[in-house]
């Protein structure tokens, strides 16, 4: 098979899987109970594209290959094809999406087994993979946008998967609408690009970018970045992501940690040569990334819901990636996207395994007739789970170490590379990068702390649920622990794909060689001055500093939470009195938006516009009608309803006329 048909097959398969499972499940309810068939089919529709991705990866010969399926829309000068581009960047993203996606599909077979919406879940997941493949493989901004909104839709459908709870449906709406605000900016960026360049194809945009006026480039990059803040949960549009945890946990792992939320980074990396032309906006990107990272990290410290900790951690890690983008190190951002997909995917799946176990506890308590409402996601009711769920515990610990940047694990390399790039960029005269670097260091410390906190509270210490002496959870089935192990292994070794510059002068940094523009890849990067030979000492110091910070954060959290358990949070609350409340209340973003945007707009619609429509606009119309009526009411008494009266009038009229004719 040639590359074209392979690419199209890889994109079409998930769509067909979604259509089949979805439509047959919807119209033939009998099909819904064939869970093995549904799950296998759904998984195959992702696993085969992964295999195709591997094949394409092996065959890849350093030239972007473009596949055109058919014309999507064309009108006047505007044309957009369903064109797909296979190059280093899209292949890497495709492998992450389908690889992690396939693992999470397998996991879901176990996790969702008892859910009546099993068929629907797999249809949605496949649809998501389809949209995500369009996003990363699309050859023009419009196909990318199709995927962009498509993943937003799947996110909406899956957050609201358990729609009988009104809160879930609300969270789904919030996610979709906040994303739409970002998409609004994205659309405007496309309008500008089409107006000035006449096309939305990447080749045209990236080649013609340099010819645009600086103000135009600034606007385009700024608007694209706003689009990215929506999808990738940055200030000011991050508020939907924590609420999105209402969805089933595999969804949180796949969509809200590993793949969809990183699409903003993909967009910036894809547009990297354009972004580099707008240094002012890059400053903005880096600062927003840094602020988001530290803000989310501080919130994560205070959360008790295990999934919310991970959600804020995701926001924070995405902030790291934007820091990298903001200092022009796009390939490092993608590197972190990849390692983050591994360890955060593993963490979320681990939390899913824990929730699965806690559900079991909840059921047992119910069977014993206890009137307790156990929140299976609340870490305050967990503890000591490592005894009962060893595989989950170990993989969770591995990923915790990886995200914290424990030396030689994947997060260590990718995060340190980001911090190093920020340092280097600052060193070569870009002042804001120093700020980014300092914030990054502090955030790294906080990350190590809150992640270890979540591990210790969940898996160590005493069991805190009721009747823990009799009732305890069991380890999840192999279909769930298998993906956990796979991701944990990747979380350990994934970092070796991007060994830092101190080792063999960066020659072993595979990801840089694969993606970077200096080596013929599609991802441009900021050029910094050559360093003197002694700079390597600084690099070593920074690398060691990164490791030390991780160890300090991990070690401190390990010590205090093992010693005090959940009570240590109270100490924190007292020590950081004002700050802690702010953190625990998420800096009041939701309340602020509610007061500043939602309420005023709704109030305007409800108190001003609706009455305006009813009484002013429509009132004018009805008023016109009443005027006519009032006028005619003067004459209505002539209308007696008795025909004979009219006939008399006619008679008089005739006599009068006759008289006029005869005598006139």
């Amino acid at each position: 098979m040639n590359i074209d048909s392979l690419v199209l097959l890889a994109i079409a398969l998930p769509l067909m899987g979604a259509a089949f499972n979805g439509l047959v499940g919807l119209f033939a309810p009998g099909y819904r109970s064939n869970k093995t068939l549904i799950g296998t089919l759904g998984t195959l529709c992702v696993a085969i594209p992964f295999a195709i991705g591997v094949l394409l990866f092996i065959q890849f010969d350093h030239d972007a290959h473009i596949t055109r399926a058919f014309t999507w829309m064309s009108a006047g000068d505007f044309t957009a094809d369903f064109g797909y581009r296979v190059d280093q960047l899209s292949l890497l993203m495709m492998l992450i999406v389908t690889g992690v996606g396939a693992l999470i599909h397998i996991y879901s077979i176990g996790y969702m087994r008892d859910d009546p919406g099993f068929w629907k879940f797999f249809a949605y997941l496949n649809l998501f993979i389809f949209a995500m493949l369009n996003l990363v493989l699309g050859d023009n901004l419009l196909v990318l946008f199709l995927g962009w909104e498509g993943v937003g839709l799947c996110s909406y459908l899956l957050i609201g998967f358990w729609f009988t709870d009104l809160k879930n449906s609300e969270a789904a709406n919030k996610a979709f609408i906040v994303n739409r605000i970002g998409d609004f900016a994205f659309l405007l960026a496309m309008f500008i690009l089409f107006k000035d360049l006449g096309s939305l194809d990447f080749d045209v945009i990236l080649a013609g970018g340099a010819s645009l006026a600086p103000a135009t480039i600034n606007w385009v990059v700024f608007l694209l970045f706003i689009g990215a803040t929506g999808k990738s949960a940055q200030i000011p549009l991050f508020v939907w992501l924590p609420d999105a945890m209402a969805g089933p946990t595999p969804v949180s792992a796949l969509i809200h940690a590993a793949t969809m939320v990183t699409s903003g980074l993909y967009l910036l990396a894809r547009m990297s040569s354009l972004v580099l032309l707008a240094p002012g906006v890059m400053t903005f990107i880096a600062i927003i990334g840094a602020l988001t990272a530290i803000m989310a990290a501080t919130i994560a410290i205070t959360q008790n819901d295990i999934k919310r900790v991970l959600a804020y951690s995701t926001v924070s890690q995405l902030g790291f990636m934007f820091m990298a983008a903001g200092v022009g190190a796009f390939f490092v951002a993608i590197f972190h996207v990849m390692t983050h997909a591994f360890f955060k995917g593993c963490l979320f799946l681990g939390s899913g395994s824990v929730i699965h176990g806690m559900h079991e506890v909840e059921h047992q308590l119910e069977e014993e007739g206890h009137e307790v409402h156990l929140d299976p996601q609340d870490m305050r009711t967990m503890g000591g789970l490592r005894k009962y769920m060893p595989a989950t515990s170990i993989t969770y610990l591995i990923s915790t170490l990886a995200i914290a940047g424990f030396p030689l694990m994947s997060g260590f390399f990718s995060k340190d590379e980001i911090l190093f790039k920020a340092f280097e960029y600052g060193y070569s005269g870009n002042g804001y990068a120093w700020f980014v670097w300092v914030v990054g260091i502090i955030t790294a410390l906080l990350t190590a702390f809150y992640m270890m906190r979540s591990y210790v509270l969940t898996f160590r210490g005493k069991e805190r649920w009721p009747n823990a002496d009799r009732i305890h959870p069991h380890e999840s089935p192999a279909s769930m622990t298998g993906p956990l192990w796979a991701l944990a292994v990747l979380a350990i070794v994934g970092g070796f794909l991007g060994l830092p510059g101190v080792i063999a002068h960066g020659d072993l940094n595979w990801i840089h060689h694969w993606l970077g523009a200096p080596y013929g890849g599609p991802v441009a990067e900021a050029v910094v001055a050559e360093h003197e030979a002694s700079f390597i000492v600084v690099e070593w110091i920074l690398l060691i500093l990164g490791g030390v910070i991780a160890l300090v954060g991990l070690g401190y959290a390990w010590r205090v939470y093992n010693r005090d358990g959940i009570e240590f949070d109270q100490k924190l609350a007292i020590d950081f009195r004002g700050l802690y409340t702010t953190w625990a209340n998420k800096y009041y973003w939701d309340e602020g938006y509610d007061k500043a945007v939602v309420k005023p707009v709704l109030g305007l619609a409800r108190r001003v516009m609706d009455p305006f429509d009813r009484y002013i606009v429509d009132g004018l119309v009805n008023g016109l009608g009443s005027m006519v009526r009032a006028f005619s009411s003067l004459f209505k008494y002539l209308q007696t309803g008795v025909v004979q009266n009219y006939a008399v009038a006619i008679l008089f009229g005739v006599v009068l006329l006759l008289g006029l004719i005869i005598f006139g």
Partner: protein
């Protein structure tokens, strides 16, 4: 001619069907007669796809044209002149497609006086098809008015509680506009007759289009026509008849109203206002565009606070058609093409929304969102179609609504006439707001726990209902993913409209004196027949 008088057949076959249903006695005979008539009409209309040549623009005259000029005395050049070109072919197909769907949707919904209902529906279809096919302004006017009467009775007899008020408002409102247009037609026929037809009063589109009135005449004629069409669209602030009419009309009435009746307004703007009065159209394009954008935002916000689901969708029409008007007055091919396809898209997706709301009303006899809640659990198939149509309506890429909205906005953004970035940005917020109010409706009616016991036993769609929604859903997908075939059909014609506008305006600047100018140099060949 190979396909004979297909256009006349398409126009009058429903009328023949109406005569037949009028004579039938039993309800099932009436329904089947109506269904067969509309289905046959639809199948015949597919012949248009086969016989239509998309490479021909409007300038070269309509295709499959039919002319009978003996209809009126020779002192008036008024003809029965029908045909198709790129501007109307899709709208005709949409009309004929909705025919059988309307009949099927009313199958159990209409219990009172079915004979009158189906007869009026068929007459209505004749009127609408005639409006789209006419190349004689006078004939257009007759069909335009013909649609009023059946719609009046459909709302007034089979409507909701306030049906009389809504029906009277609908008729009076549109009548005011169309009477003003009649004045315009009479003046225009005289003036164009003097200028280009040897002093004989003419309403032939191809003759009038060669007549280029001077600036001040154009301006007031433009407003007479535009006012009439703006009411029909409806453009803010002339929209208040629409929510009332939609809410009170029976389900089928709402579908035909949203599906095709409103398109008569936007179609009229493209067909008549732009090529007849290009100077005035461009001069006041900004004004109209601002009103359109106000309509987009205003309609969306008012929609969000309605407690009545049908009213919510009605206001969403105000918002969506604002986009169409914006696209028409951008004077770029991209935007006008977007407007053309958006007319079809809106007809399909909003039509589907009204159909589904009708099905819900049939089951629960309420339109209030508070009376529902959580029904996704009891009616999954209905929910599927609703979510699908909502997403199409909200402009999700891959479904039809996006194609039109995107082309309109991208084309308006590059427009020299109305391409103010802030105006277009404001219009683009409509995309956000569409998600806000439509998802709100889903949230209120379909999701959450079942709060009302009556909803627990709600019956899901039967095969008849699935069968009439499925083609619409398929069309949403096809128009969303592969609209290029459909766009091609209108491309040449929209380009010729823009070309007529450009050449007439440049002729105006050559003759600065302001005298009426007959532009012989236009690339319009009026002697096609």
């Amino acid at each position: 001619m190979p396909i004979g008088n297909i256009i006349s057949v398409l126009i009058f076959l429903p009328l023949v069907g109406a005569l037949i249903t009028m004579l039938l006695r039993s309800e099932s005979q009436i329904k089947w007669a109506a269904l067969i008539t509309t289905s046959v009409t639809f199948v015949l209309s597919l012949g248009l796809l086969w016989g239509f040549d998309p490479s021909l623009g409007t300038g070269t005259g309509p295709q499959m044209a039919e002319v009978y000029s003996s209809w009126f005395p020779d002192a008036f050049d008024i003809k029965y002149y029908v045909g198709v070109d790129g501007l109307n072919v899709l709208l005709i197909l949409l009309t004929t497609l909705l025919g059988p769907i309307l009949v099927l949707s009313s199958w159990t919904y209409i219990k009172k006086a079915p004979r009158g209902y189906y007869t009026l529906m068929l007459i209505l279809q004749t009127g609408i098809t005639g409006v789209f096919c006419s190349y004689d302004v006078f004939l257009f006017y007759i069909f335009f008015e013909l649609t009023l009467i059946p719609m009046y009775f459909i709302i007034g007899i089979w409507g909701g509680e306030d049906r009389i008020y809504a029906a009277v408002k609908f008729v009076l409102y549109t009548l005011v506009g169309s009477l003003l247009m009649l004045v315009g037609i009479l003046y225009l026929g005289n003036a164009a007759g003097d200028a280009v037809n040897g002093g004989v009063f003419t309403t032939d589109w191809y003759k009038i289009v060669q007549y280029n009135p001077d600036a001040s005449t154009q301006t007031w004629l433009f407003f007479l026509f535009a006012f009439s069409f703006a009411i029909k669209v409806p453009l803010f602030p002339l929209h208040t008849w629409l929510p009332d009419a939609h809410v009170q009309a029976p389900s089928g009435g709402s579908v035909v109203l949203a599906g095709v009746l409103l398109k008569m307004g936007t179609y009229g703007l493209v067909r008549f206002c732009l090529p007849f009065f290009p100077y005035a159209s461009q001069k006041y394009a900004m004004l109209i565009a601002i009103l359109a954008v106000i309509g987009v935002i205003y309609g969306a916000l008012v929609s969000r606070v309605q407690p009545d689901a049908k009213k919510l969708v009605a206001y969403s029409s105000v918002s969506h058609l604002g986009f169409v008007v914006l696209g028409i007055f951008a004077f770029t091919t991209e935007a006008m093409q977007g407007a053309m396809i958006q007319m079809i898209n809106h007809g399909i997706s909003t039509g589907a929304l009204f159909l589904i709301l009708g099905m819900m009303y049939e089951r629960r006899h309420t339109r209030m969102m508070d009376d529902f809640g959580g029904i996704a659990k009891s009616v999954p198939i209905l929910t599927f179609f609703m979510v699908f149509s909502v997403l199409a309506s909200a402009g999700l890429p891959g479904l039809n609504g996006f194609v039109g909205e995107f082309l309109i906005l991208v084309g308006s953004f590059k427009s020299d006439v109305i391409g103010n970035p802030f105006l277009i940005a404001a219009a683009t917020t409509g995309v956000i707001l569409a998600a806000v109010y439509l998802l709100w409706m889903l949230h209120k009616t379909f999701f959450g726990p079942i709060t009302n016991e009556a909803n627990r036993t709600m019956v899901d769609l039967n095969w008849r209902e699935i069968g009439l929604l499925a083609p619409l859903a398929v069309l949403m997908l096809v128009l969303g993913l592969a609209p290029s075939k459909f766009l091609q059909m209108s491309e040449a014609s929209t380009e010729s409209i823009i070309q007529i506008v450009d050449s007439k305006i440049s002729a105006m600047t050559e003759f600065e004196s302001g005298e009426p100018v007959a532009v012989g140099a236009l690339s319009i060949d009026s002697d096609q027949q």
